[in-house]
């Protein structure tokens, strides 16, 4: 039996996910290459008792780990929501933040800056470069959507944009000097350790605003799951709603990619985990569940990537997939066994 039939409250499922998110976030604050006592950590982030702690511990928690955890939570939530939105718009379980080619565009922007020496001197030039690349692909996608107005064609065009951008990036890589090559590869690993800037605040804010908007529009977005004709016939402007959702998802993806590098896997997998967890498809429930589970998984993956006792930080993307694939497999296979159909519905 699934949660759907059992009638288990999806609210309870969401609250459980919130608890998991908070516990994991506190663990991620306490653990790292420098050991810091748990209660010192609590004091440093302002939820523990008022007491003297070392300046170094306070600095590490407040300026290194806290921004990193907040970034992970925001990026994970944003990518989960972008994936959910794309899956709804395209009514396709395999759709994700990458389908418009937005992150490939961001990658090309970064490659141009790092590999042609344009921004070799500026340390943070990758963020605006990625934003410009992502924005150009998104504008192209919107233009295509206006011209043809058919989501499936847009999906194919997005794939083509992605291939083209990746090909251009590969050409640049092949002819690049060694130093730029290394910086590009490190960027493409993905990381929640951001250079100083508004990133850690921006990502959770973008995810939060999107979540509120999607939840308010909930039933109209649900109607899209029945297809554009059903949506139109129940009073929803299907094409306009789809276009808005595409812009929102593409914008979120571009924003996250610009700051953290391309984070794979999360965006496609998290909505499926959320559906399996709460057993519902309504966006009013699925949106908070997706945002919270996305944030939670991102924090957990980042924690594994910088496990204490490990001098080097592992590539985030690799950890994400290695940790995430078994989780998704278990959820899908469990769905199969309990007779919930193929287990990958929307």
């Amino acid at each position: 039996m699934s949660r759907t039939d059992r009638g288990t409250s999806p609210i309870a499922g969401i609250l459980a996910a919130v608890a998991a998110l908070l516990v994991t976030a506190l663990l991620a604050l306490a653990m790292g290459s420098v050991p810091i006592a748990f209660r010192d950590m609590l004091t440093a982030v302002g939820i523990g008792p008022e007491r003297e702690i070392s300046g170094a511990a306070s600095y590490i928690i407040r300026l290194v780990r806290l921004p990193r955890v907040v970034t992970a939570a925001g990026a994970g939530a944003a990518l989960g929501l972008a994936g959910l939105t794309m899956q709804t718009v395209f009514r396709n379980a395999l759709a994700g933040p990458g389908v418009l080619g937005v992150s490939a565009g961001a990658g090309l922007g970064v490659a141009i800056v790092l590999l042609t020496g344009v921004g070799a001197s500026a340390a943070v030039a990758t963020v605006p470069a990625a934003m410009v690349g992502a924005a150009l692909v998104l504008v192209a996608a919107i233009a295509v959507n206006r011209a043809v107005g058919h989501p499936v064609l847009l999906l194919v065009m997005g794939l083509l944009f992605g291939y083209a951008a990746n090909a251009a990036t590969t050409l640049l890589l092949a002819s690049a000097p060694g130093q730029g090559l290394e910086r590009y590869i490190v960027w493409s690993f993905g990381s929640f350790a951001l250079p100083p800037g508004p990133g850690p605040i921006l990502l959770p804010m973008a995810a939060g605003l999107t979540a509120v908007g999607l939840a308010v529009a909930g039933p109209r977005v649900d109607a899209l799951l029945l297809g554009p004709y059903y949506a139109e016939s129940s009073g929803v402007h299907a094409r306009r709603t789809q276009a808005i959702l595409i812009v929102v998802a593409g914008g979120l993806t571009g924003l996250v990619t610009a700051y953290t590098g391309p984070i794979s896997f999360l965006g496609v997998a998290v909505p499926h985990i959320a559906r399996g967890w709460i057993g519902r498809s309504q966006h009013r429930l699925l949106v908070p569940a997706t945002a919270i589970i996305g944030g939670w998984l991102a924090i957990a993956a980042d924690l594994v990537a910088r496990l204490p006792g490990n001098e080097r930080v592992l590539p985030l993307n690799a950890v994400m997939a290695l940790v995430g694939v078994p989780v998704v497999l278990v959820i899908l296979l469990r769905g199969r066994r309990s007779g919930d159909g193929e287990g990958i519905g929307l």
């Binding site: 109209r220 649900d222 297809g227």
Partner: protein, 270 residues
């Protein structure tokens, strides 16, 4: 109501930059009637249905619901249209994890405010719609786990939750076994006879059911429409001609007028 629930005038439906699919100089769908659209494959039944539903603008002509145009100047808004007319289509529906009662609740979208939550009256309409089609016991079942027959009744319940005057159905019996096909037409007939909807319009290949249950038939073939009672269209041979014009499937069958089936001509007409 002085105006017909659906009134079509001088309608032309074209493929984009292609030939005309269908023309109808005048077509009125009556109130208090179950109307079936029948005709050969590619005749334009689905096209006509979508056009009436406001989903496919005609290249010329007008479609009116109770005297208000569906397209063009002064046309109904989506929301107002959705309160007059609802549809059951052949589209595959995606949400496997949506529960039946939540799917039926989507029929209330045209009545909700932006923030809109579900109040007692809304809840009553949703429950009532599920009772009408006999799916109350499935309320908490996930849509992905319904049989074809159950899903069809759930989709009709969703359409009824829109509290429409007119319900349009495209091939609603397509994937059902014979007893369920009959039960479905019985249900549609009852919706009309009990006044739950003013008109039901069904595009169908199940000629025998259309003949038995419909108050009125619309033959859609050869790019045009002809209306009449089932009896009249069978008696004057229009029914048979509509299907067999340009028939390209080998030996031409004939319509068994009492059963409403096409049978090999060697069996003869009864």
């Amino acid at each position: 109501m002085t105006d017909a629930p659906v009134l079509i005038r001088d309608l032309n439906l074209d493929y984009p930059s292609g030939p005309t699919v269908l023309s109808a100089a005048h077509l009125a769908i009556r109130g208090g009637a179950l109307t079936s659209l029948v005709g050969p494959n590619g005749g334009g039944k689905t096209t006509l249905l979508r056009c009436i539903a406001g989903l496919l603008p005609p290249s010329s002509g007008s479609v009116e619901l109770s005297g208000i145009p569906v397209y063009g100047r002064g046309a109904l808004s989506r929301r107002r249209r959705a309160r007059i007319l609802s549809v059951v289509l052949t589209d595959r529906i995606a949400p496997a994890y949506l529960r039946v009662e939540d799917l039926v609740a989507l029929g209330r979208i045209p009545y909700r405010s932006v923030i809109g939550t579900t109040d007692a009256r809304e809840e009553y309409v949703i429950q009532h719609a599920m009772e009408q089609t006999g799916v109350t016991h499935l309320a908490r079942r996930a849509v992905g786990r319904l049989s074809d027959g159950e899903r069809q009744r759930v989709m009709i319940a969703r359409a009824l939750a829109q509290e429409p005057h007119i319900i349009l159905l495209d091939e609603p019996a397509a994937h059902l076994d014979p007893p369920h096909q009959t039960a479905l037409f019985q249900l549609l007939h009852r919706l009309v006879s009990e006044g739950i909807v003013t008109s039901a319009v069904v595009a169908t290949h199940h000629v025998h059911l259309a003949l038995h249950f419909s108050h009125e038939l619309v033959l859609v073939s050869d790019g045009t429409v002809r209306t009449g009672t089932p009896q009249a269209l069978v008696d004057n041979g229009e029914m048979e001609r509509a299907f067999l014009q340009g028939f390209g499937g080998g030996e031409v069958p004939i319509l068994d007028q009492t059963r409403g089936w096409f049978v090999p001509s060697s069996l003869g007409s009864s």
